[in-house]
Amino acid sequence: MQFSAPLPLQSGASIAGYTLVYETYGTLNADHSNAVLVCHALNASHHVAGVYIEPDGSKNVGWWDNMVGPGKPLDTDQFFVIGVNNLGSCFGSTGPMHVNPATGRPYGVGFPVVTVEDWVHAQARLADALGIRQFAAVMGGSLGGMQAIAWSMLYPDRIRHCIAVASTPKLSAQNIAFNDVARQAILTDPDYHGGDYYAHGVVPRRGLRLARMVGHITYLSDDDMAEKFGRELRSGEYQFGYGVEFEIESYLRYQGDKFSEYFDANTYLLITKALDYFDPARKHGGDLTKALADTRAEFLLVSFTTDWRFAPERSREFVQALVNNKRRVTYAEIDAPHGHDAFLLEDPRYMGVIRSYFDKLRKQIESGELRPKAAA
């Protein structure tokens, strides 16, 4: 969808005209009370569920296909689900690889830095255009969860339930440190060309690959890595060299290579900055309780015990701030071995919690409880 009105951004800049690519699943009901917005994390897109068959015959499965679909925990037979690709991303919505109408050249590094809050404002405009005054729920994992949290603060009367999985109210110094290593890998790649690699017909592949490798380490738990790879050697013997020897090396390099083929380096830089900047308590002197004072939604938070990227402690801090405000909040702490990645994986306890939560919402929709109030 095209938007011609400029979108003012947190940085003070604005984006003049932009496109947001989105997908919808299910049907919006008569009183518009069953809409659910699903927000994506770092490397995902509007393609939340279902399968495309690519021109080469390969299958492109939605990034949360195990969660969203007919009969799934977020049941598209009951809910009208929207997936939207965020600004600055590289899956169709306006991003650094697109032409800046002011210069006639790709934005590149000149693409304005966007924040989680900017994304939420853009999503709200999309909701307006689709005739959705209020979401039954806004949901996301990791960075997607931050968008759901931001929705609860920026549009308190447009979100009834906020569902944030494996998320955090702010990044730790350690999280920012990992992001900066990733950014430095890209920025120092000679093929980066100050962000203008499009003009040079190259891609800073080495930088992207390293960025993904370091990121990927933070998505897995120590236990999970030990279980999957241990100290397994590809050839069974030490080679006394610097080639790929351990299975974990092979895995990370494979992930890095794959990623560097489809992801845009400028987008990676932008999105890691959006992660680093997210800190809604900052303008309240660091007081998260105050930051949540105007929220009206009910909350569901889920964390995973082995997630050391956005650890359960971060979710508990958030629960505490909600409890201080006497907000309705449900918190599930799933004892899963898969680290941060667990939010994308199948786990019957996790899926059971989400399914039960949406079942409660379905009943609220049926009873008319979630009917949007008339616009103020």
Binding site: K326, T330, A332, R349
Partner: protein, 201 residues
Amino acid sequence: MNFRELSVLRADLAFIAHWVTEGVHVLDLGCGDGVMLDYLQSDKKCVGYGIEIDDDKIPACIERGVSVIQQDLEGGLAIFADNAFDTVLCLSALQMMKNVEGILRDIARVGREAIVSFPNFAYWPHRIALLRGRMPVSKSLPYEWYDTPNLRCATIKDFEELANEVGLEVLECVALDEDGKPVSFLPNWRGSLAVFRLRKK
């Protein structure tokens, strides 16, 4: 959920529910499937939170519309501010805890009033079992000695002492029989479940 439904499901909880004032802010420690909070929310206009550790119980709480926070009570109640609740419930959960004294002190900190229940070890069939030289197994203590989740065995008299020590004044103590009915004659002999209504001193 209405009172009749609660009485059928859990007679002991139905008795205890009488002690909860309408419209108060409640914390239910070890809330299980959320049946008590469901009743208190729908019939007595209370609001609040349940704490539960068991994965299997969380979806049931969610479906009942209970705000449940999954947490081990042994970790304490640090997420709650002093005097955050009018009433703290700790029903048939205390006996499973290692740090009983710690949780009672936390209950006294976060709540103005508390209601605590636990199996009365001095219930007469338990005494007889012990006289026969065997650990008691009954409706209120339905486990063998080797598989019981109950770490602490207390009697009505024992608990009064500890409650006082942690800063809780006993307002009322009732022993319930196995059908959830109060026992007035020889409660420490004839009651299988001890129920205390307490107030911060």
